[in-house]
Amino acid sequence: MNKQEALAIIIGRTVAIFPFEVKVLLEKNAVVLDAQNYDISQLVEAVINGLSSSESFKNDFASFIEANKEII
């Protein structure tokens, strides 16, 4: 397994298990304006865009995963 695959698994599982929380993180860090109606695939895409463009979202997302790694 390479790091990209590990990243993909972590992102995919986080979005599937915590869609509401991911939406909150996206909106809080202004990655998207309104993510409430986003489906799973849209959330994944938004997360990846956020991770590559927003430092604050990266930090929040990493902290969230660290705090919930028992579940993810």
């Binding site: 397994m1 698994i9 790694k69």
Partner: protein
């Protein structure tokens, strides 16, 4: 260095915890030690194998050197496709599990109430209505017969 900086250090030594007592060094900074253990659909990614090693060494270490995943549109598209597949698969499994749980709860309710709730939830209602109708009928008959007797 930020979490997702695109700068790749020239030499990297990865030590993913001491569960096996060995350090994993690779010349390719983006290859984790091979393992037959992949993410489990039920156990969680961080509960075994590579995930456990990542968790013990800090998840941010993955983000620190995973920047190549975002360095180009092609890489991002690939990551998007992989992550989307993971999310869709797990979402389906979670939906199935939720449905199984719901069915199990209904079955338990049915078993504990002798089949009078759940799918047959209106049975008690009909019994109550029937008793009520009998009572009302009895009151009417009583009133009529008393009137006749007077």
């Amino acid at each position: 260095m930020g979490l997702f900086d695109s700068t790749i250090p020239s030499s990297i030594d990865y030590t993913f915890g001491s569960s096996t007592g060995s350090s994993f060094t690779t010349s390719d900074p983006f290859t984790l030690p091979t393992s037959s253990t992949s993410s489990s659909s039920t156990g969680g990614f961080f509960s075994s194998g590579i995930g456990q090693q990542l968790a013990s060494s800090g998840i941010s270490t993955l983000f620190n050197v995973g920047a190549t995943a975002f360095s180009s549109k092609q890489q991002r598209d690939l990551l998007n496709a992989q992550a989307n597949a993971q999310a869709q698969n797990l979402d389906k499994q979670l939906t199935i599990e939720q449905e199984r749980t719901r069915q199990a709860q209904l079955a338990m309710q049915n078993a504990s109430s002798g089949g009078l709730v759940g799918a047959g939830g209106n049975t008690m209602l009909y019994i109550g209505l029937g008793i009520g109708a009998v009572v009302v009928l009895g009151v009417v008959i009583y009133a009529v017969t008393r009137k006749k007797a007077e």
